[in-house]
Assembly symmetry: D3
């Protein structure tokens, strides 16, 4: 169950409203790297958590924090929209030169919300909840969370660099710090659970004897000329300490697939329903 | 530029076709954890790669490998659909008891593709390319890739456990091994770049002086009763070695947001356009 | 800012787990009539609220309540999935006759979440945040909310009737009651603001002199035979008390549209770029 | 069955084409508040109508009218695109200062349609038919329709205010009037059926004895400090006349959920599969 | 402007309701091959039509016909749902053996619509209007329409074969016939315009001198072993009579792309911002 | 299985980077007319191919070529983004007049990818794999492919006309040529299979005796005034040579649909559950 404090987690101040920056901020709300995603991701991970209760609790805490981040950013969007032009003639009267504010806006900020935020990204694409990764596997979830916070912090940093509004920079420097914590937090869980060597390969509950181990540590080269980009992944012990990296040119181990011809009542063309190849050998080699 | 070898990377064999398992396999093709996603993710990361060329090359190699995995799984779907019932009456004539095959199928396997695979997940939801994470930040990308391979291997393991078809188990044991390699591979890049302590916080190019450092290593407690789920994330040095973890009860640092009233020509109700609160103080405390 | 109490708002108990009912419950979570939608809808309405603060507060309260409803339903899904078959052979060993449980499940409950809820509807379609209606107009929002709670309660009632699990019925009878309150609550706002006659037409800030009033209260008949389905909408004073209903056969008041021919450099066919009609009069009347 | 008259329902005239306004108009076509939505919503409600035939007929009439509104708006988009720049150099030659027309356009208006409308919103997001609410419950449908027309009229009013093109204002003043009628029309059905008190709670066919009546009229306060935003919804008779409003501080009535540990063969990490908590009591209170 | 006749274009009769067939029928309504798509596609092509008016008129006619096809199919879905089980216990009481009807249904047919059709496909995925192809190029549109009717007829044929309900077979045999007409109709336009040789390559308004003609009629072989699947496309005059087919092994004509390193303020990792390759030559060849 | 050559199929050169053109180019990558679509479409058609192997091989070749086209266009996007402004202040310092570059960009090119391409269209809408048409019917697939290449070439031509960058024009003139080949290629398959007269109606495996032949060649007129747009489709032999075109005024052959009233436990309103019409005859004729 949840409670709300009507005050913001951190102050949100806009010194000079910028409706195009309002559009940019949407990426941090409804973008795939944004706060709606992490909020729902951590909460769904918590609610479906099986195993030690402490992780359920921790995820619940941080998911709850993220709701407040959406609130902050939505407030920032609304404040950046104050004073936005509502018409072409209004914009022209303000500044006949620039002229690019209205056409650079998310027009739904005018037409659909009356100068408020939307659960969309910076292109106006609505958030799609398929981005909520909650796999039932705690290690997979932690790496999904690191990925979310890494891309989220990259977006926040780019927003910080995009503006010179002191209020916005202050708010973003707080969110950037929180993303720092959360990146560390999720990796701390991996460390607490024994570190990557113990947790990999994920899921680590699958018996190694049931995977094709001869292919489990080979870097497959698919370059036409067999060139190998060497690196940590082509030699030495694997990160999970269970194998040794090596480079291998990938070769087809299977055959050309052979599907049965189409059934006469299956909606194909008649030509597809015969077992005899339509023409005799039709292939040459250049 | 790309080339094709018409043979499969690894043999695909189905001993006993199972049209419902064909539906399940779709998760590994067009699901958010599936092969279309990693194929496009690695290729887009490669094509947009800025910085050392070796990573571009490596991503290109592995992205190219993944195309062949979609090919293998699509073949597996088609083979599992051979002999599938095309009508209710046909199903009934085969086995009046079971009766659940046709109704448990992805009906598009009959209606739309004539017994072939689709770029959809196991519920028939088409792949949406917003899941292609290519952030322009190599560390963020590597963690996104670990997440993709971790959830991907979890799906493959669950498919392996779902069936007792020897052919399918063999194919899946190969794909499971490849996911093992790829999890290791992406973390090997992080290690080659100096490890998490050097790469975190991501992006590590953002000056630490510009983030609110007092909030960068605090685990915020949002529990109504202040209970703290203690763990590696509440004390000790942070994973990035740049701070010390501590638990902090989250307090609102900001105020209640105040937005301007609606403009008379902004499409709101008239009641919203006055600066005077509609009623005098309307709040009590229970 | 938000806080969490780890306890549920209302007890969630499942007496006999039913994995297909777990799929059905998803409609109340991630369906367009579900709790994710109302949670986000009320919160975004609150965060973008312009005008009297009391409505911002009220929306914040009820949006916060809804987060807890998602939590309850996600728990219900997870509990209904306990004991679900993870493989075809397991299902068969349990009950060779029924056989329809696994094929009737949302397979992502097995493959993607390890027996937990997803932010999807009962067909596995992920929630799309375009369903978050927050118009910046309080009356439009209230009616959007009534619509959401009316369809939401219909879904809850149908779920209640679908199961005979006493625990699930108990939980649903609580959620059904809450929807009753919320339907009343949103209409109470309309009443407080003067009732429909004062709030309609929405937005009521638009000057009536600027709309084509002769068409503002006519029920347009588009039936080929001119038949009029008579009702409250064809005579008497309008609901907003500003006009009188009447039935009118709709007649085309405009002409056939005439667009300019395609530009030669606009990517059309050459035939489309000439102003001369391709053929002389090509139309007859049967 | 349907018939077409090639003339428009109302004249569509554009005095000064504005390609950015063409983008804005798309919101009224393919936006969630737009005409495609109401067209399909009313037609699907009609086609699935169970109960008195007059409502089926009425919905069919008005759904048919809406097809013509899409036609009008699509024509308006095409006319606003006439003369649009097709290249950067063309735009520059016209007006080196403004420069914002092409970059402010929906580029698909050039690239995909050759200067015609699309079934998309003002951000270019295609219409998604999940917005077609047809619940099988006539009262729920009527409120969904009021919501659609209220948000639709808000969009139309905002478009009207955005432009000073006399032709466009004339067309929009017609559409605004039609939305006035339709808001009244749907509420007239509620009135004809006895009014909200008789129709609420929706569905009114569900026995009141089966809902938890003690929670059916309470306004739940989720504010951390227990502050209550008082209003019509906190005291007095409910709108449905079946209860009395009161404010209640929400308290958790349930427990902390306890899910079973993960199955060893379920794709989780090994740490999640043991029933013993991983660590002894890990929680303190700050 | 449009008119409705409340009678159906063709009789719709269901002899034995089958709720799973109702799900299947949805593919013909809201599937990518379905009637909503062609209805909107032909209408949008008509409304954006530039060039000879007769094509606008023709498209308007056929688009209008298609609305009635959605109506027929929606009626068919509703009739197939009559008598559907609304609960697990009801289903069991009817037939304890089969048990697969409810779990094989589109559960939204129960939960969301109260036994009516939805604008979704057979998997419950809502129609997405991006499938409305209206290119502003009449030849491209005609081929898009042939494709739509070819896939549409394939779906209708497969539905016909799936059922043995005489009423449904009768309705489908009508729709199948209409698709026959429409396939012919769109190709008739191509013929009227001079046939493929005159209309290709589409758009035929683009000067041939501006395309790289040396690559305009070569079949590129991308097989690793250079094998050529010979056919009509590897020799002889091209279909557009403007070139001669030949097979060519595809060779890379470009270089390895070189992007600039990342900017220090662009949100990348520090390692990506240096122009010096991170390591000396890191590539070998296996 | 697939191989990569790190060199591009054709040179990609940008003389003057244009970040708004980068947005436009996205239509050719992730738009419904773009290269991701054809790549996946041809590969899925190949992988599901039933019938003569030569078509499987040919589709595999051309699908493989298309991967390289995505690569070329992604490179072009990245090169057009070099030097793009990352902040409002940076843009202003460059050119205080223009000011429209940043606001006209796909902001995800800055925020999400760090100046790289995305799998999205020119409005930032991500590619949705439902556009991958692979019907299991070779003739339907070939027409789908012609449609894809026709709309694809229209987009490429419009991009060519939009820019005057010599490098971009060169690259596009290559892609335009390849689309010429592919349009011819797919129609060559139809010709090889006997031409439209033999392949139509698609699927040609459905017995003509089972379709309502009296409606299979009639052009249905749905105009309110019965006007017929005459053309090749109203007289003469049909394209498939199996019938004779004629124009017919469409008349309703069916009745008004009659659905059963709602069930009392089905979540409808009580008024809908009675068989007696609510009111006596409520319809008049104007």
């Amino acid at each position: 169950m949840f409670l709300a404090d009507p005050r913001l987690q951190y102050p949100v101040r806009v010194d000079t409203p910028n409706p195009v920056f309002a559009r940019a901020l949407q990426q941090a709300i409804g973008g795939v790297e944004g706060e709606i995603r992490v909020m729902m991701q951590y909460l769904f991970q918590s609610w479906g958590s099986r195993g030690p209760m402490k992780y359920r609790d921790m995820l619940l805490n941080t998911g709850t924090e993220e709701i407040g981040h959406i609130e902050m950013l939505s407030t920032a969007v609304a404040l950046n929209l104050e004073g936005a032009p509502l018409s072409f003639q209004e914009e022209m009267s303000k500044d006949p030169v620039a002229g690019a504010v209205l056409s650079g806006m998310n027009l739904r900020h005018i037409l659909s919300t009356g100068l408020g935020a939307t659960p969309e990204d910076s292109n106006g694409v609505p958030f799609n909840a398929s981005h909520v990764y909650a796999s039932g596997n705690i290690a997979a979830d932690m790496y999904s969370n690191v990925a979310a916070e890494a891309t989220g912090r990259a977006v926040a940093v780019r927003l910080y660099n995009m503006t010179d509004d002191a209020g916005m920079k202050d708010m973003l420097s707080f969110l950037i710090a929180r993303d720092t914590m959360h990146q560390n937090q999720w990796l701390a869980v991996i460390e607490e659970l024994g570190g990557p060597a113990m947790q990999l390969p994920i899921p680590n509950s699958f018996p190694e004897t049931q995977q094709k181990n001869e292919f489990a540590y080979g870097y497959f080269v698919h370059a036409a000329d067999g060139a190998v980009p060497e690196g940590r992944w082509t030699s030495g012990s694997s990160i999970d300490s269970k194998g040794t990296f090596e480079a291998m040119v990938s070769k087809p181990l299977g055959d050309i697939p052979q599907l049965a011809p189409a059934r006469p009542d299956g909606g194909a063309q008649t030509d597809q329903t015969t077992t005899t190849p339509m023409a005799s050998s039709s292939s040459t080699t250049l």
